[in-house]
């Protein structure tokens, strides 16, 4: 059982219970939870993903507007398939929706990316995986607006940080989305939360063995691959507690990460004092 607190406890204040979640969520499979992957497409024929992708759309230009049509072009780079593969390993029964914005011909990267996010919010997908970002200042305001709309619509947007010196959007918008960077530990349930940091969550993102093009597998490193781990975790949580709001999901992740931290401390202490 995890108690999600209303506020941080310290020597001056006591814990006020917000809500409780039991550990049963860890046994769920993400059944019926809709997950949008805004990326380079998904290879629907990959063994790990067969039958799991409910719809694939692709960005296209129509008289200066971005439109989304059904797509059968699969994945142009492998990245979207890799992200979906990671989510699927944690939440094998989640429903995938591929929104292809990379490799879609003739469109500027940021424009298609924004349109893809807007499309996903309109479709009200429960979780949106954004293993992409932009540092272009002109996209700051429109992305901020879209993220607020997602928050108000109950869509949980999870974005990968970039590991470059410049901030990237939307991962630095900490209020209305969940942002993730990589850590070395491989256990998807042992994710971390860095309260007060711009990028709050950490999840596995180093040497992740996952699906790739041509029904193959690759070992990948990057924040891109930490993001889908958290998406998978949220899919399990939402199957068990479908009524959770984005704020409650973030609070729950924080509480679970605190428990992980405590467990890791005990584990480290046990390893350094084996005789005790």
């Amino acid at each position: 059982m995890t108690t999600v607190s209303a506020y941080e406890s310290n020597e001056h204040s006591s814990i006020s219970m917000y809500f409780q979640i039991d550990d049963g969520w860890k046994l769920r499979t993400g059944k019926g939870v809709s997950v949008a992957v805004i990326d380079s497409g998904i290879d629907t024929s990959h063994t790990d993903l067969q039958g799991k992708v409910k719809e694939s759309v692709e960005a296209g230009a129509d008289n200066k507007r971005v439109v989304f049509d059904k797509s059968d072009t699969g994945d142009s780079a492998g990245h979207g398939t890799a992200c979906a593969g990671i989510i699927s390993r944690i939440a094998p029964d989640a429903e995938f929706y591929s929104i292809k914005v990379l490799g879609a011909g003739g469109l500027g990267d940021g424009i298609a990316f924004l349109a893809g996010l807007e499309y996903a919010i309109k479709q009200r997908y429960q979780i949106i995986n954004l293993s992409l970002g932009t540092t272009k200042p002109q996209f700051f305001a429109p992305l901020h607006d879209l993220l607020d709309r997602a928050y108000q619509s109950g869509c949980i947007v999870v974005a990968a940080a970039n590991n470059l010196p410049q901030p990237s959007f939307p991962s630095v918008f900490s209020s209305s989305l969940i942002s993730v960077s990589k850590h070395e530990d491989a256990d998807p349930f042992n994710f971390g939360f860095r309260y007060g940091e711009v990028i709050e969550l950490t999840a596995p993102g180093v040497n992740i063995h996952t699906a790739w093009l041509n029904n193959s597998y690759k070992s990948l490193t990057g924040n891109s691959f930490a993001c889908p781990h958290i998406v998978g975790i949220i899919a399990l949580l939402l199957e068990k507690y479908p009524e959770l709001t984005p704020f409650q999901v973030k609070s729950a992740l924080y509480a679970i990460a605190q428990e992980n931290l405590d467990k890791n401390k005990v584990k480290t202490a046990d390893q350094s004092n084996p005789s005790e």
Partner: protein, 258 residues
């Protein structure tokens, strides 16, 4: 062509040639600096091949602008079609990534390996950004030594991001200078009213004038000073701005006659 038209054209051409030569004088060391940084960064992360990949044309294709390593010269002749390979993805997504087991069949890298005779096994690629725009990709391939190679680590990815920031500034300066040169070449070749041989002779003469040589010398002195540190740079800027200001107030009097 009237005398006035010829005079106007000469002024325009003079300006183009001066711009091209100053740009060349200032940016020639850039390619060397980029290669040096590539070598240093590759050694830092124990990588065998390092390259800078930039946009090639408007269709989203990429080309190798600079490379160091065993197959560097061959790489510089290659182009990467839009969206292909890890570099193509990193360029369009802005997300750094590392990947192992790259050279499997039917991939872009398998094709490149066929041409170079190289065996690409592990890659680390990170975007080069300038003013929020992605202007290229910094890519490292394989480790020094014999395969199988250890995958690139998370710490190495973070380290390379710092090199990327410095390299991006140099690449941006180089690409800007190249644009100048290309534009100048286009303008020169577009004018059909002057015979090409005559124009070449005219440009040759212009470049031999003392005025032109002095301008290039001045540019080189500024570059030399700028590289010596903040204090020198600030002082040089202050002096040159004062000279400009003073010159503005003395428009009708020769500077030297004062």
């Amino acid at each position: 062509m009237s005398d006035d038209e010829i005079k106007n054209l000469e002024i325009k051409l003079r300006s183009i040639v001066e711009t091209i030569d100053v740009a060349n004088a200032l940016t020639a060391p850039l390619t060397l600096s980029i290669e040096n940084l590539l070598r240093i960064s590759a050694a830092e992360i124990n990588s065998e091949e390092a390259s800078v990949i930039v946009r090639d044309g408007d269709a989203g294709d990429l080309r190798f602008m600079s490379a160091v390593g065993k197959v560097a010269e061959h790489l510089k002749t290659l182009k990467i079609p839009s969206g292909k390979g890890i570099a193509g993805f990193v360029f369009s997504s802005g997300q750094p990534m590392a990947i192992t087991d790259v050279g499997a069949e039917n991939t872009f890298y398998a094709e490149v390996d066929k041409q170079t005779g190289y065996s690409t096994q592990t890659i680390l690629a990170t975007p080069l950004r300038h003013d929020g725009e992605i202007i290229g990709v910094l890519e490292y391939i394989n480790r020094i030594g014999e395969p199988p190679f250890e995958p690139f680590t998370s710490a190495e990815m973070d380290k390379v991001a710092l090199f990327a920031e410095a390299i991006a500034s140099l690449v941006n300066a180089y690409e800007s200078a190249k644009l100048f040169r290309d534009l100048g070449d286009k303008m020169l070749s577009a004018d059909e009213k002057l015979k090409l041989e005559e124009m070449r002779e005219w440009i040759k003469n212009l470049r031999e004038t003392n005025e032109h040589k002095e301008m290039i010398d001045l540019a080189l002195i500024v570059r030399e000073l700028a590289g010596r540190g903040d204090a020198e740079r600030q002082m040089c800027k202050g002096i040159l701005e004062s000279v400009l200001q003073y010159s503005d107030t003395k428009t009708e009097t020769s500077f030297l006659s004062l």
